[in-house]
């Protein structure tokens, strides 16, 4: 079953076409990376899938339903770019992670014991249970990113959508971060869509790569996609990832 499906989708902003004729589907249990140069429309595509933007033409389907009519948002975990939460925001790790459960609890209802249990499970999954009472701002970049993943996991989602989650991550955390995502994908069967600029590393972790540059340029297994020819075509010859593949 397709968890996400984009059909003949176009998106324009102020008469400028950002995305054109996108046809893409993601199956249940897949781990897919979306790559492309800056300004290629990756984050826009994520916002369209999440219903934050409306397509100019075409359809966005989530679990077979139009994104406008989809009402089971607790099934979707979202990890935005780190900057989405201001660095001075006064909240503990647990308070931040708890917000991930709000969609499932519903408007005006309080979190119950089993909700707090799910929040603690999410914290445990990312290894932050011992830091749950720390202010988020006191955590390192890698730990903060894990807190945001725990927030997305707190609603017990079926799909995880991450928008350039490695931005600002220290190199030594990147391996642990990918390993955590792979674990979630393989052990809990969570479908993952991840926007990434980390072309060099993602190939060893994901099942499929889709390359975007206003249009869907190509998609397939990392082995088929991460070739010098394709990357030259998308990024140009000067890109370090391309140089590394030569």
């Amino acid at each position: 079953m397709n968890v996400v499906e984009l059909r003949d989708m176009y998106f324009a902003y102020n008469d400028k076409v950002i995305l054109e004729n996108i046809n893409l589907s993601v199956e249940r249990g897949e781990f897919m990376a979306l790559i492309g140069p800056n300004g290629s429309g990756k984050s826009t595509l994520v916002k369209l899938v999440l219903g934050l933007l409306q397509p100019t033409q075409g359809q966005v389907l989530l679990y077979g339903a139009s994104v406008n009519k989809f009402n089971e948002w607790y099934r979707v975990g979202y990890v935005p770019q780190k900057a989405a939460l201001t660095s001075k925001f006064p909240a503990t790790v647990k308070e931040v992670v708890a917000t991930g459960r709000f969609g499932r609890v519903g408007l005006g209802h309080r979190l119950r014991q089993d909700d707090w249990k799910s929040i603690e499970e999410a914290l445990e999954m990312v290894g932050l249970i011992s830091l749950q009472h720390c202010p988020l701002v006191e955590l390192s970049g890698g730990q903060q990113q894990r807190a945001f993943i725990a927030r997305a996991l707190a609603s017990s989602p079926d799909i995880l959508i991450l928008d350039e989650p490695q931005v600002g991550l220290d190199d030594r955390y990147v391996y642990d971060f990918y390993r955590l995502l792979q674990q979630l994908n393989k052990e809990q069967n969570i479908t993952i869509i991840m926007v990434s600029h980390d072309v060099g590393a993602i190939g060893s972790w994901v099942d499929r790569i889709a390359c975007l540059n206003r249009k869907l340029v190509c998609q397939g297994s990392p082995h088929d996609i991460l070739t010098p020819y394709n990357l030259n075509h998308i990024y140009g010859t000067d890109h370090p990832a391309v140089a590394g593949l030569h």
Binding site: W73, Y74, P90, S155
Partner: protein, 282 residues
């Protein structure tokens, strides 16, 4: 306790305490979202309600209701423009604040001989709060607290990360409208107590002071409520004892707490650094 012998003082205390709690409770969400000047803007717009009331010659008991209507309309306009235009928060609030004030000045000019009322609404007149004012304050407090209890977690989510709140399925636009409606109600009933020029201060200063020492959202929220109430109590007592303007005393007391917490935090940071350096040397 001698001041409690007078009915006007008891009314002033109750009104002050309720406003002292309500203002920071809503101010918390405004400060975090960088809309600290929202209350000031709505207060200046509300002043147009006072002016229109004077110009129309309505009874003084009707004026608070008129202020309420103008405040709510102004607040909803701010919210509409906030979501429909690309104006930055400060630019939008500056626009609306000047517009509201300009409207108030024009209507004050058209109404003759209303100078006394202007002063009481500009600077607040806590000691002249009558039982009608107090009833209105208590009704508004009941409404605001009810919504805050019901929607605390949603408002917290929106002010922490509006985009993620939308993705989780929360009706963010509707909740924003409800929130700004509550701010408008609170500002409107606070005008009589602390005045147009100081209502924003009472919404923001206790929160800023609490942010210095609070380590969690919940801590900062409740601490700012406590500070709001303490500042009001101490401010009113000082005002009664020394014959000073009540609104000014309340806000200055809140500012004192801000300065105190700031100084303590700086001292603590200094000693922590000093100790760390000493350890390094050893």
């Amino acid at each position: 306790m001698a001041m409690l012998q007078y009915d006007f003082m008891v009314r002033a205390l109750i009104a002050g305490l309720v406003i002292g709690m309500l203002c920071p409770a809503l101010g918390m969400f405004l400060v975090i979202r960088r809309y600290s000047f929202m209350a000031d803007t709505i207060a200046h717009i509300s002043l147009a309600g006072v002016a229109i009331g004077l110009w129309m010659g309505v009874a003084s008991s009707v004026t608070p209701l008129l202020i309420l209507v103008v405040a709510v309309l102004g607040a909803l306009t701010v919210d509409h423009l906030r979501t429909r235009t690309s104006l930055s928060a400060d630019a939008l609030l500056a626009l609306m604040m000047s517009g509201g004030l300009a409207l108030a000045i024009i209507f004050f000019g058209l109404a003759k001989g209303g100078a006394l009322d202007i002063t009481s609404y500009l600077f607040g007149s806590l000691m002249t709060v009558n039982s009608g004012d107090l009833k209105l304050i208590l009704i508004v407090a009941g409404i605001v607290l009810l919504f805050l209890v019901l929607l605390y977690k949603e408002l917290y989510f929106i002010c922490s990360d509006e985009e993620s709140a939308r993705v989780s399925g929360l009706p963010v636009d509707r909740l924003n409208r409800i929130f700004i409606f509550l701010v408008a109600l609170t500002v409107a009933v606070s005008l009589r107590v602390v005045g147009t020029l100081l209502v924003g201060a009472l919404m923001v200063i206790p929160v800023l002071a609490s942010l210095i020492i609070g380590r969690s959202f919940k801590q900062v929220f409740y601490l700012s409520l406590v500070l709001g109430v303490i500042a009001t109590l101490l401010g009113l007592t000082a005002s009664y004892q020394f014959g000073l303007a009540a609104g000014g005393c309340v806000v200055l007391t809140a500012l004192f707490f801000f300065a105190l917490f700031y100084a303590l935090k700086q001292l603590l940071t200094y000693f922590k650094r000093h100790n760390a350096l000493q350890k390094d040397k050893q």
